[in-house]
Symmetry: C2
Amino acid sequence: MKIYEMRIAPNPRRVRIFLAEKGISNIEFIQLDLQKGENLTPEFKRKNPFGKVPVLELDDGTCINETVAICRYFEEIHPENPLLGSNAVEKAQIEMWQRWVEFYFLMPTGMCFQHTSGYFKDRMVPIREWGDECRIHVSKFMHFLNKHLETNTYLIGNKFSIADITALCTLDFNKVNQISISPEQIHLKRWYEDVSSRPSAKA
Amino acid sequence: MKIYEMRIAPNPRRVRIFLAEKGISNIEFIQLDLQKGENLTPEFKRKNPFGKVPVLELDDGTCINETVAICRYFEEIHPENPLLGSNAVEKAQIEMWQRWVEFYFLMPTGMCFQHTSGYFKDRMVPIREWGDECRIHVSKFMHFLNKHLETNTYLIGNKFSIADITALCTLDFNKVNQISISPEQIHLKRWYEDVSSRPSAKA
């Protein structure tokens, strides 16, 4: 099995942390340079028509795209140490939090970066006003998260899950937007130090 | 179990079709008027802090938010007639397609509506330029979908899944954006007529 990725991007990191938490290590990683457009070649677009990373390529050539689809594949073939939940309510609550983190934190983070940094300006027209709006959403979600973590060890009670991985990668990626934890967000800081100190965070 | 929803909104419809395909009918539905702000009361925000519908409330008061989290809960307690896949590769491919439809079709559809119609202008500042950009993404995805459906009965080969439900609800919702299938998109039209004729489409 091979994973096509770009090491510094947040979505590939989500997959690497997921695999590290699972103890899965027999994967070959192939690096692409997104700024050089190595993800936009006809060959790569046969693997992912949208030219995104990461992509998991199975030994028979089947390509699985989308971070969470890749994680779900590994959760299925390696169910030990579940990160997507172990009963109906827990699976639903993890799915809910995962989506909250993606829709209200990761996506505005990515769009703030794309629409205010000019990083991909050769292939998109940045809309500054939309990027600024996304920045406000990012800050609001961090406030919400801080409040939630006052009474919860992890995003879903006392169980580390894929939602924590997504939130950690999003928080770290916000360096590109110059957004970081405020001094008064003590619960978010406590959680951040906890999840960052897990060996998987370095994967 | 209760579901809080607004009948004409696309996400509640995704859940109703999912339940109809599963043959689950013992749910009480409670209607909220989003334009009147019935989803923004302190009471409802205790069920969903983001004020979104649908919300599934279990008999013990636990609230499950997010359409796909609600569907996952029902898939878990009622695994017959799986709509989220039945083995590792199928589950991953359905997750991949579901996310493609959500990220590249449903979300731009919703944002085009929000940023160009003025429907929620009492509670957000519409950015016309961003709404117009989203409209382009919607059209591009419909072109991609038409091409894919030339050689596939449903989104994932010959199996109807949650990804078809999401695509159907998104396509129908695009009436609000005055976007519909072009005459030359014959494969998309064939698929649309097929999925629309299932009894669940009327749920």
